[in-house]
């Protein structure tokens, strides 16, 4: 094990190195750039043997990643914010070609000029395309979820691309203490060669990927992708089990409950905001107020079963969205819509409220988390919801 004080971009690069990737396609954009810098350094220093292709744009970058993966290479790429948006045409066709590309998205606001603060909307506009997506809470988890990503994406029952999201600055640029495993242990979990699959371009067995398609084929292709996403739930469970066995950590696959014991109300969110939440909820517990936090680790596939089982025991769920869907139902956040819908069939369902927080990279303090925890606790006591969607930290 190597102890380091380092950022999420470095831990992700280390996972990529341990995955022994063959091809990296790169184009700089903050806050993703740190990963490509670190990978370039690793290659220059002889620590990693991979093709490193600097592209002319994100569109090319993701096309190259897709094509390299179609040739059977293990690939890594990534972007952020508008860069991710610019790659959109390539992003759209990657899942339907069923190639296991792994990408890092350094979440970034879309794009009030130059605002590189975190917002999750950049990746959530890709929600419905067939990319798997997960959110680490800290750089340590960023390593874990990246390494697991290859194993999940390359499983022949899945074969879908995979995104590791990282909160811009807070996880990509802040140095935390982390323990990174030795390369041999990582190799035990993830062998250098991916499992064989049917859709690899090779001169020995000529085939064509993604020829012209019309209405005779479209629906079946979508249903195949749907099945792959469903399969990914079970595969993810197994991969987590294996990871936890080998590394002695790694956490649950979809939903992690934090300080939920004895709580009637919980906050819920993805990514780094679990950190101030933990600190706040622990303080409140010492003061005799029991509120929990439910950390959603993976959003695609969304495990309805895990989410419902975790949330059904509470009276109130306050979903924290670092994203927004203009004009949506209740005009709220994207994750809120999904969580609320997942709970609909419960005969005795919790009340679900929504907090819009941290947009454009606005800071999230322990104090803000404390006040939100108290608020959901109050709703649990009185049963009264005054406002379904509430903006937090806004000047009004």
């Amino acid at each position: 094990m190597v102890r380091m004080l380092t950022t999420g971009t470095t831990t992700i690069a280390t996972a990529v190195k341990h995955a022994d990737v063959d091809v990296i396609s790169a184009y700089p954009i903050r806050p993703y750039t740190g990963v490509m810098n670190e990978l370039a350094r690793m290659i220059a220093d002889g620590e990693l043997d991979a093709e490193y292709i600097v592209c002319d744009s994100e569109h090319t970058q993701f096309e190259i990643a897709k094509h390299a993966a179609a040739c059977g290479a293990r690939v890594f790429t990534g972007s952020a914010g508008i860069g991710w948006a610019f790659a959109h045409e390539a992003l759209v066709v990657t899942p339907s070609d069923r190639v296991p590309v792994v990408a890092m998205v350094g979440n970034r606001a879309l794009d009030d000029p130059g605002n590189f603060g975190v917002e999750h909307t950049d990746v959530l506009v890709t929600r419905d395309l067939g990319w798997m997506m997960c959110w680490p809470e800290n750089p340590q988890e960023a390593y874990d979820l990246t390494l697991m990503g290859y194993k999940i994406a390359e499983n022949p029952k899945v074969l879908l691309p995979y995104i590791v999201n990282c909160d811009g600055n807070f996880i990509t640029h802040v140095r935390f203490p982390v323990d990174l495993p030795d390369e041999e242990l990582a190799k035990e979990f993830l062998p250098s060669t991916p499992p064989p699959r049917h859709n690899v371009l090779h001169p020995d067995r000529p085939l064509s990927i993604a020829p012209h398609v019309d209405y005779y084929w479209g629906a079946e292709i979508r249903r195949q992708m749907d099945q792959a996403m469903k399969n990914a739930i079970e595969v993810t469970r197994k991969v987590h089990e294996e990871f936890n066995k080998i590394f002695g950590r790694g956490g649950p696959p979809f939903v992690e409950e934090i300080y939920t014991e004895g709580a009637d109300a919980v906050l819920m969110g993805v990514g780094g905001m679990a950190m101030p939440a933990r600190a706040a909820l622990k303080q409140l517990r010492r003061e005799g107020i029991k509120v929990g936090y439910v950390k959603l680790r993976r959003f695609r596939p969304f495990s309805t079963e895990d989410v419902v089982n975790a949330l059904r025991k509470f009276k109130v769920v306050g979903v924290l969205d670092m994203d927004f869907s203009f004009g949506s139902a209740h005009t709220g956040g994207i994750i809120f819509q999904e969580v609320r819908s997942a709970l609909y069939d419960l005969p005795d369902r919790p009340k679900v409220v929504n907090y819009i927080i941290g947009l454009g990279g606005r800071e999230i303090t322990v104090d803000v988390m404390r006040s939100l925890a108290k608020e959901v606790n109050e709703i649990a006591k009185t049963g009264e919801v005054k406002q379904v969607v509430k903006w937090i930290g806004l000047r009004e």
Partner: protein, 355 residues
């Protein structure tokens, strides 16, 4: 549990890597004692602008600060550096401390700091990195009783003239760090250990430095020790009476609300040929250009080449600088064919004080 933090104040481009270096040393020292930490540079800084004030931080959570830390450090600092005992790594409160410090991870600046290390003494005047932030005093985030340690050949008393009055009490220290080591954050940290004990211990820094600089480790550790003993410092009492400041930083609540902001991300420009009243870049400046009238041939190259339009077009006024906007880049002095422009150390000017 207690949170402690250190702020590093430097200038864009030339000192970017040194923000990281200082933060890494402090965090590595904390790690040796079993205390989790965060290290980061301010995210919205654009350190590619020459001279722009930039900041970095180390934030540490520890179970407690030993009451006798200053005495322990003094005893260690009396020993030859190769005989300083190794720090004890106590992990008994690690999980709690980690949770506490990670709770501070979603911020761009710590809520408060125990020490400020200043890389360039002209920065004690404060820094204005962006228009909307305004002028941040050097003690903006400093806790009451904290320490400011400046890389400077000057005495603390002299620098005090340029620092905004404050209700806080603090220690102002100087050390000629650049004269002691090219990597001047090493002596700056040594000086900090003396005037702000308890953030990290002397011995943990010695070991972190030895480890970091490998073959040169012992030499650098000597520099830490020398700085620890050499640092000059004064105690600054809180200012008496109400404080009036011409320029200060803007509080979050003072920004316009969403209803007041013009829609569509619009910024109205000042009238043509008038300087921008909102954004002053004078805090980027370490040296100020001064034109010698005897040598100036009024060719106006300084005006033409100034990358910031910070000179008046008037030859009769020798293309005088707009003092609020000159960044002190030195381009005008460089292009002047008669060598009429000298770059003069900013603190030689009385009006360099910004309050």
């Amino acid at each position: 549990m207690v949170l402690v933090a250190v702020e590093f104040d430097g200038r864009g481009v030339t000192q970017t890597a040194l923000l990281r270096a200082a933060s890494d040393i402090i965090c590595a020292a904390a790690d040796r004692e079993g205390n989790p930490s965060l290290g980061y540079e301010r995210y919205d800084d654009a350190p590619d602008r020459v001279g722009v004030p930039i900041k970095g931080f180390s934030v540490i959570s520890k179970y407690e600060i030993p009451k006798d830390q200053a005495e322990k450090d003094a005893a260690d600092a009396a020993l030859p550096v190769d005989q300083v005992p190794a720090p004890v790594c106590d992990l008994s409160h690690y999980k709690d401390c980690y949770e506490e410090v990670a709770g501070e991870a979603m911020l761009y600046e710590p809520r408060s700091v125990d020490a400020v290390l200043v890389y360039d003494d002209t920065m004690v005047r404060g820094g204005e990195p962006w228009a909307h932030i305004g002028l941040q005093a050097i003690h903006e985030k400093l806790k009451d009783g904290g320490a400011i340690v400046v890389n400077s050949k000057k005495d603390p008393e002299f620098l005090l003239n340029f620092i905004q009055p404050t209700n806080k009490r603090y220690i102002l220290a100087t050390i000629d760090a650049e004269g002691m080591d090219k990597i001047f954050v090493v002596p700056l940290i040594g000086a900090m250990l003396r005037v702000a004990p308890g953030i990290v211990s002397y011995r943990s820094v010695i070991y972190a430095i030895k480890d970091r600089y490998k073959a040169e480790g012992l030499k650098k550790a000597e520099v830490v020790k020398e700085a620890y003993h050499k640092v000059k410092f004064i105690e600054v009492p809180p200012a008496k009476g109400p404080i009036q400041l011409k320029r200060r930083s803007k509080r979050f609540e003072e920004f316009p609300t969403w209803k007041e902001m013009p829609e569509g991300i619009v910024v109205y420009a000042p009238p043509v040929n008038t300087p921008n009243p909102h954004y002053k870049t004078d805090t980027f400046r370490t040296y100020r250009p001064v034109t010698d009238p005897a040598k100036c041939n009024k060719d106006g190259l300084c005006w033409l080449y100034c990358p910031d339009s910070a000179r008046s077009p008037d030859p009769e006024k020798l293309f005088e600088i707009y003092v609020d906007y000159c960044k002190g880049c030195g381009v005008c002095a460089e292009v002047c064919p008669t060598k009429a422009i000298k770059m003069v150390y900013e603190l030689d000017f009385k009006e360099a004080r910004l309050w």
